[in-house]
Symmetry: C2
Subunit: 168 residues, 2 copies
């Protein structure tokens, strides 16, 4: 709906671009930084993550209604929830940006220790569709804001379909 106004703004850029030789696909700096951050997050590389956060960084899980502010609280929280995580990665289906805002649509995969669910010695795996949006500080290479929208309902379905939950 706001597309039309933006189209008009883009027109001068487009006519300019047409006159230049295509330099081939280049990954924008915002996307590169977002990918570095996501790698640090899913690799649970806390020393690297600490470089991305500062006292002002806000991490919000919109669907869980949870928000954390500042490097210290965010790192403490991540360490706590990842105690049970065996594998954790993010698969992006679609990724786009505007300026220093990056939107990543995809799936989070988790492999967690089953003892949390009463299944010691087993692993439970989940795939959570969702969206992670980042507001970056490109100059200082920091994350100013992260907002996650995760579909936790699909986790319930996967939990109930887990073989361990079948009556023996």
């Amino acid at each position: 709906m706001r597309a039309l106004l933006l189209m008009m703004l883009f027109l001068p850029l487009l006519s300019q671009a047409a006159e230049e030789v295509d330099p081939g696909p280049q990954k924008p700096a915002a996307i590169q930084l977002a990918e570095e951050y996501m790698a640090a997050l899913t690799n649970r590389n806390y020393s690297k993550l600490a470089q991305f956060y500062d006292r002002e960084t806000v991490l919000t899980d919109q669907m869980a209604g949870k928000s954390l502010t500042g490097s210290r609280d965010i790192l403490a929280f991540l360490r706590r929830v990842h105690t049970y995580t065996q594998e954790y990665y993010f698969n992006a289906d679609h990724l786009f940006y505007k300026g220093s805002r990056v939107v990543m649509i995809g799936n989070y995969y988790y492999k967690a220790r089953g003892d949390l669910f009463g299944y010691p010695g087993e692993s439970v795996t989940f795939s959570l569709p969702g969206v992670t949006t980042l507001k970056l500080d490109m100059e200082n290479r920091r994350v100013e804001q992260q907002i996650d929208y995760l579909d936790y309902h699909t986790m319930e379905d996967q939990l109930s379909a887990h073989p361990s939950l079948a009556i023996p």
Copy 2:
């Protein structure tokens, strides 16, 4: 990452659900209301849209860096941008909710009058991948907040690939 904490919260619900007979798929009230709203929006049904907005409603286009507050300003804006719109709809790829928050991942399709782009008598079509999130007031059937994240870059690509832009 917050998944593990939520899993623990969900466990009591899951064991309860297992004892009940599956009532079949039912569309949650929040999803129903979101779909009604999206229909009013894409059909440009302003009298119906007016019922969804109040003085507190906030509409934010995060990637355009634009935010509007209140029914009057939002409706005036929508009427203005839709002057050139011939067709407009939203196709949801994935839709989920938690409480009164609804997240819709999909594509917006636009068919607009080409005279806006210097092509009178023609139409230009666009498909914009994006995410629309809603915070609903279920009791009063209102939209408290709408945040859009739209991939405007794909619009540029589509514009530059438009046959009308080829040199005759």
